[in-house]
Symmetry: C2
């Protein structure tokens, strides 16, 4: 047996040696590139002096950074923060008492309470020394204590302060894979899971992997969540837009995908991937399963990586729609690893949990060859690992308390309370927007946002032009200044040219919604009175 093991080890070694040569080669390349590929000035003592270091200014930093935009935390939020400081410094100085941040899906900042069970487990894993103290029984539920022990046993040395495997703790990935299987009814491999600090770093990782130059394109919905445009800009690629159809509830038409793909290809763009956000952000639509099948077929036929943003998978508010993961849809069509490149993003920031500050999330990566997967692992390893609390929380949201657990009933009550309230808030705000003169608003079937369209009077558009601002931004600033309500202009997400929208979260606490609607309505009336043609 010893010989066998030695033989296996030798195989490993030989394989590794080959890799090693490759690695050595790359390392030398990286220094020799410095020595060789940069243009050599033959006579350094010639009259032209060598280039000095440019001062660090807007003109000398990476232009991709300058180009990138992220409206969700853009300048309207900066203005809101300044107004808030003014209110604090001089109460009564504004026509409102507080700033209401409806610009970002950040539920707990607006008063949503965390799920108790999740926080109990996190606290116990942070300070395992209390796990076997008698007082702990009085403070924590029995299943939280049990779960904390289970999780600690999955962590080598029970060391919650150690770097983990760069894809995340193996036992937690097992739990997540089991959760995906239970959700989809199809197998999930823990080795396909990459745990990340929220979903954003996972999106960046895929863009970094796929984008080689501006000749590489990524198909993105318009309107889109601006993480995508920002990440594509930072990685130097080209955003290939496809428009969602507002008239059919932000419908995603395959004919539109084909048209935009064809146009891009005719211009020499190698389109690498299709981004689909389901449920939609900022648009709130939930895709029908039949539509998802068409999308899978399209990606398979065209060789596109399907980047499925599924972070709102728990946020569906209408009985006629149900969330289906693209993994489930593609597997139910009989498509496996060899047929389609598929990446699904999930986050602990959304759903009913809304744990944005914990920065937990994962991507499930299927359909890539082993060599490409190794590259993903390498990039993950450069950043060592994602934060362990976020990892634990990602496992918890994919494996919440079950029937019979001590926390089960309170957990269900908390979860359902949040989700039912969100669906009521979505409906109340949708109705309110549709009651405003010149405003139409599609239903939020899911996610956390409404994206109403404002038909602005010509006079308002001219007034905006006079102060050199976009008409929707003009409206949103006026709204903020009059009411303290912060929303994001549609131009931050993209919209059909000549149409104007804004994104408003459905997250203010339910008892505040009537007052929010009153403030919105009053503002809108006076705005229209001022600018009606």
């Amino acid at each position: 047996m010893r010989r066998l093991v030695i033989g296996r080890t030798r195989d490993l070694l030989n394989r590794s040696h080959q890799n090693y040569r490759h690695s050595q080669h790359s390392l030398f390349l990286s220094s020799s590139r410095f020595l060789s590929s940069a243009p050599v000035i033959d006579s350094p003592s010639s009259s032209s002096s060598p280039p000095m270091s440019p001062p660090v200014t807007l003109n000398s930093i990476n232009p991709k950074v300058v180009k990138c935009e992220y409206a969700v935390r853009g300048e309207i939020v900066t203005l809101a923060q300044k107004l808030q400081e003014e209110i604090q410094a001089k109460p009564g100085s504004q026509p409102f008492e507080e700033i209401l941040y409806c610009n970002i899906g950040n539920p707990q900042s607006l008063g949503q309470q965390p799920i108790t069970f999740f926080r109990e487990v996190l606290a116990l894993c942070d300070h395992p020394a209390i796990l076997d103290k008698s007082e702990t029984q009085g403070l924590f539920s029995a299943d939280a204590i049990e779960r904390a022990w289970q999780i600690l046993d999955q962590i080598p040395g029970r060391a919650t302060g150690a770097y983990s495997h760069s894809q995340g703790i193996k036992g937690l990935r097992d739990t997540i894979a089991a959760g995906i299987e239970a959700r989809d009814g199809f197998p999930s491999n823990p080795d396909d899971i990459f745990l990340t600090d929220g979903a954003s770093p996972a999106v960046h990782m895929m863009m970094q992997l796929l984008i080689r130059s501006e000749k590489d394109g990524i198909l993105c919905p318009i309107p889109q969540y601006p993480l995508y445009s920002a990440s594509i800009a930072l990685h130097g690629g080209t955003l290939v837009p496809y428009y969602l159809d507002e008239a059919t509830g932000w419908g995603l038409e395959i004919s539109e995908l084909k048209k935009q793909l064809g146009t891009a290809r005719s211009k020499g763009i190698a389109v690498r991937a299709l981004v689909v956000i389901n449920p939609g952000n900022p648009t709130g639509q939930v895709l029908a399963e039949e539509n998802q099948r068409e999308i899978v077929e399209f990606c398979k036929d065209e060789g596109l990586v399907l980047l499925a943003d599924e972070v709102y998978q728990e946020n569906v508010y209408v009985p006629e729609k149900k969330f289906h993961s693209f993994k489930k849809v593609s597997r139910s069509m009989g498509y496996g690893e060899k047929d389609i490149h598929l990446v699904s993003f999930q986050s602990v920031s959304k759903g009913y949990y809304g744990e944005c500050g914990k920065r937990g999330g994962y991507m499930e990566v299927t359909g890539f060859g082993a060599d490409v997967r190794e590259q993903m692992y390498k990039v993950a390893s450069v950043n060592l690992c994602s934060n362990i609390s976020g990892q634990i929380l990602a496992s918890l949201v994919m494996s919440p308390p079950k029937v019979g657990d001590e926390s089960y009933e309170s957990y269900c009550a908390e979860r359902d309370g949040i989700l039912l309230s969100l669906s009521r808030r979505a409906k109340m705000l949708e109705d309110a927007f549709n009651n405003l003169e010149g405003v139409t608003c599609n239903k939020a079937e899911g996610a956390m946002y409404l994206f109403p369209r404002i038909h602005l009077p010509e006079k308002a558009i001219r007034a905006a032009e006079e102060v050199k601002t976009a008409p929707d931004a003009f409206y949103c600033r006026r709204l903020l200044n009059a009411t303290g309500i912060v929303v994001v202009p549609g131009s931050g997400f993209g919209q059909v040219p000549g149409t104007w929208h804004f994104r408003c979260t459905i997250l203010p606490q339910e008892d505040k919604i009537p007052a929010v609607i009153d403030r919105l309505t009053d503002f809108h009336k006076s705005f229209m009175d001022e600018y009606r043609d």
Copy 2:
């Protein structure tokens, strides 16, 4: 007064409008780039068909990703993980009982216990509902409870599950700035602090900001921590090496910096920044203050951003050396904001706390113009914020318990116990390496590593060549296979060509060190017996 406020708001608005136009412009650019700058094929129906999407293979992904290397979690670790699986599956199948991971500075994975006070505060912030329960008094120290309340009061709405300000929670940045002031005796501005998920994302952020193309260079020490080479490769820049002088205890000579800068400039490279790691990784040297002054002067004169990796600031083991931050040194020379661009990186992963898995850290950024700072904020905002537990922990390490606090004595005992033990372990391992035939090892004055040089016999070098591997990697693999001890070949960090080293952490628990030394020594003797010329 109302008029005054309105006037101020109008100013803000006007300024924002101008920015807004800029933002609109960029957004349109980003779609119009797709429409215009890509080469247009005049007749899409012509015989040459448009480019299809390339399959996702090693040849079609981003070559910067392929080029990047990170040896600390490279293939020798992959081999170690496979050996570990073999041991678990078949105990006794290897000539050792466990794998000892000395490849990475991950103290808690090797049994170091977390600082109790820090974990108490984290647990209470994770589950604030228990803060006013009577059982909590019995489980947690009074000052941990008080600190948790203080921190919660610094978080808007006490919402530890909300996204924070993209630079980190303001109150925590205040605490960190106060800690820096207490450390340095010079002011620190909380607005200069960017809290990040460990130090690595902060390093990436600066590389992303500074590197425009391969014509931009970053001066890095050789040997270096491979995060730097990896990040420069991922961002497409050029690593400009400067060699530390092993003969003078890894001395950093200004003449070497000047020589390498001159060579790089003569080849057309715009050198943007100088990376200094102090205390050194993998080299363990602690810079003398006089040397630091020269470095500051050099960066100031040459217009280089000084990127100061100061994550080992608490890890100094020799009485004759003391850590001085580059901020303190530059301020003590009379240089302020206008004189030098300076970025200091700090992490909760190192020091006596070793909280790697919490992914907390920050960078303090000084000397940049407001417009460049805005760009940094924008990039931070795309990722929303770093994880709140890591943020809290970063504030704790910069503001630990003080005289009179209930935890003060136990905190000091834990801290000093860890640091004193680390210094003993460093000395024991250093002596052991120096006792090996053909091995010389500089002292670890600080940090967590030794970087011994192995003078390999010609026969060993030839044997390595025969199996197509680098001689130091050959040695490290043999070491792993014989002893289960995982170290990283010097080629992963860079070394003077023709010299061979490896990096070994000083982190095995102290009671294990004698056995580690025995295993190392036995292996080395038999290796030398096999290959001695």
